[in-house]
Amino acid sequence: MSDKIYGLMAEFNTPGDVLRAAKKVRAAGYHRWDVFSPFPIHGIDKVMGLKNSLVGWVSLAMGGGAFVSGFVLLWFSNAFDYPLIVGGKPMFSVPMTFVPSYILMVMGGAIGALVGMLALNQFPRLHHPLLNKARFELVSRDKFVIVIGSTDPGFSLTETRKLLESAGGQNVDIVEDKD
């Protein structure tokens, strides 16, 4: 037991069980905890008090940025740096910029969504203390796990364990941090 403790994990069998347990953990005043599930559980955001994800804003910013840069690129390349007369039309007009800028907006927005998701989740990471636990591998299968982190001010091995067990958690276990 020379390793640092990462937290305590408890298993649940159904999304309904884990949702009820999560309500109790939240009510007990914990902050550094999370629920692990094989798929997104409907309503868990509300129970955990998660605010609207910032991914949408990252995507909007990158998509909008791409749109504006497409607009500027077209003006710069076809009207300013090398003015090009095509079919006797004006050197620059807004409608001509729309399609390429729109396409660039889609590209920027998509990259923004992926990059935003990866950044907000602090991906990529190749290691996580939880991945050392054999029982935790069942989370990607059919189990639901609540982990309360040891960095939480309210964390105590005995009290937290009691709470998780009273909330219906099975196989309550210590997660070591081996780094």
Partner: protein
């Protein structure tokens, strides 16, 4: 307890109105996980090798031979010549883009409309999109003749001080196809991250564990991760849906901004989008029907899902038929002799009338078979119809591209187009490359979105009895 159960039963809709279950014979989340990852983990079956070897031969021998011979020698090795400067290369380009579209429609648009059945076939449709856009993107890049000047199409500062001419839809195409490839690949990859984690956790060998740990990028399935992931997924779906309607419209604009009779019509952008989707549903049927049997996925990709794909094919086919009708009507109604000539010759000209009638016979005729439930529940029929739809849509593109070019305004300018062995070889090569990539995907990656399918099961709903809902939650 039994009283309230009986009350609930009385309230439930009659059997014929109830939705078919997404997964038949569902035995819980663990069973589903085993079932869905079985093929990627099991021993490679014989049929896989029987399909893979010819596909890999086409992809690694025929494909590069035809490609390099054309690039080193010139476009002259193809049948393209004045006046038919767009031949099989552009026909195949449109065809491949078309195949891609149904994949995006299934995975993105059906997600936005909350069609739960899409979870089972979405991943396979996305893979189809990614690989066919790769094949599509190749054609214009070598069709330009000097592939080493392809970078002229990108706005790169260069010593000539020249920029691309952005008023041309051909230029928009470069952007659209590249964006389509990038976005659909990102979407494909992001959707697989939770499933990589499933395979990581199930892996038994060190190498497998290492590869999937790397690909899963640290996914643990925490609520915070799902929270960001779902948002990103939703945004990507919205953007992909935009692309379904944009990419083929821009390909359509390539044609309708030209003055050629038969191309110069405002209906073209819509025409190409619907044609693309129709063709893609044909390809979905061709891919799904054998794979569900050979991979043992009959309970996952149920007959009800196949039936829905067939219905979507029918709907898009009917829209296509309406557009054919309008095309011929407008050609006649315009009173323009060139338009009338071109459309008359699509069906009654001596050179390509066979293709014209195949187009009508398949896209207008054979499609109507999908009205019948008997046909929609017969897998062999559906498979054959799927192949025929692909052939029919290929003929349509040929008729549009070559049919309008070979007899232009001046009779002294008329000519004929016959593809050479290099045209055909390249097409066979791209088909081989597509199926090779697809087979590799099926064998090594999660071919069904494991976490998404689990997420729409009743066991996954915390407000359902199977999901652990209790009376005190206010639910039964």
């Amino acid at each position: 307890m039994s009283d309230s159960l009986n009350q609930l039963k009385a309230l439930a809709a009659p059997a014929e109105l109830r939705r078919a279950p997404v997964v038949e014979n569902n035995q819980g989340l663990g069973w589903l996980t085993d079932k869905l990852s079985a093929f990627a983990e099991g021993k490679t079956p014989l049929w896989w090798w029987i399909l893979f070897i010819p596909a890999a031969f086409a992809a690694t021998v025929i494909f590069p031979t035809c490609l390099f011979y054309q690039v080193f020698t010139g476009v002259g090795v193809w049948g393209n010549n004045h006046p038919v400067m767009w031949g099989l290369d552009i026909v195949n380009f449109i065809w491949w883009v078309g195949v891609a579209h149904a994949g995006t429609l299934i995975s993105a648009l059906l997600f936005l409309t909350r069609q739960h059945w899409r979870t089972t076939i979405g991943r396979m449709a996305e893979a189809m999109t990614v690989f066919s856009v790769m094949m599509a993107g190749l054609y214009p890049a070598i069709h330009v003749g000097r592939a080493w000047f392809d970078w002229f199409m990108f706005p790169v500062p260069n010593s000539n001080g020249l920029w691309p001419q952005f008023r041309s839809p051909l230029m928009w195409d470069v952007f659209a196809v590249n964006t389509y490839l990038t976005v659909s690949t990102l979407f494909f990859f992001m959707g697989m991250i939770p499933d990589f984690a499933v395979l990581r956790d199930r892996s038994t060998t060190r190498v497998r564990k290492g590869i999937f740990t790397f690909l899963a990028m640290g996914w643990t399935g925490s609520a915070r991760q799902w929270h960001h992931y779902e948002k990103a997924y939703l945004v990507l779906c919205g953007l992909c849906t935009l692309l379904v309607f944009t990419v083929s419209s821009i390909v359509g604009l390539d044609f309708c901004t030209a003055q050629i009779a038969g191309w110069h019509a405002t209906i073209f952008p819509l025409y190409f989008v619907i044609g693309a989707v129709f063709c893609g549903f044909g390809m979905v049927l061709v891919i799904l029907i054998p794979l569900r049997k050979w991979c043992g996925l009959e309970q996952i990709i149920t007959m009800s899902h196949i039936d829905k794909v067939a219905k979507l094919a029918l709907v898009s086919g009917l829209i296509i038929d309406y557009i054919y009708l309008m095309e011929f009507f407008i050609a006649w109604y315009s009173g323009d002799q060139y338009e009338r000539w071109v459309f008359g010759h699509r069906l009654f000209g001596h050179t390509y009338m066979v293709l014209g009638w195949m187009l009508i016979g398949i896209n207008v005729g054979v499609t109507q078979l999908l009205w019948f439930k008997k046909v929609r529940s017969n897998l062999l029929w559906l498979f054959i119809i799927g192949v025929l739809i692909n052939i029919g849509m290929w003929c349509e593109r040929f008729v549009i591209v070559v049919g309008s070019l070979y007899q232009e305004f001046l009779p002294s300018n008329w000519g004929k187009y016959m593809p050479t062995m290099w045209d055909i070889g390249l097409y066979i090569g791209t088909l081989g490359a597509f199926f090779m990539l697809y087979l590799l995907f099926v064998k090594f990656l999660p071919m069904i979105a494991i976490s998404e399918v689990k997420g729409v099961m009743p066991e996954a709903d915390p407000h359902h009895r199977l999901g652990g809902a209790q009376k005190e939650d206010g639910h039964e």
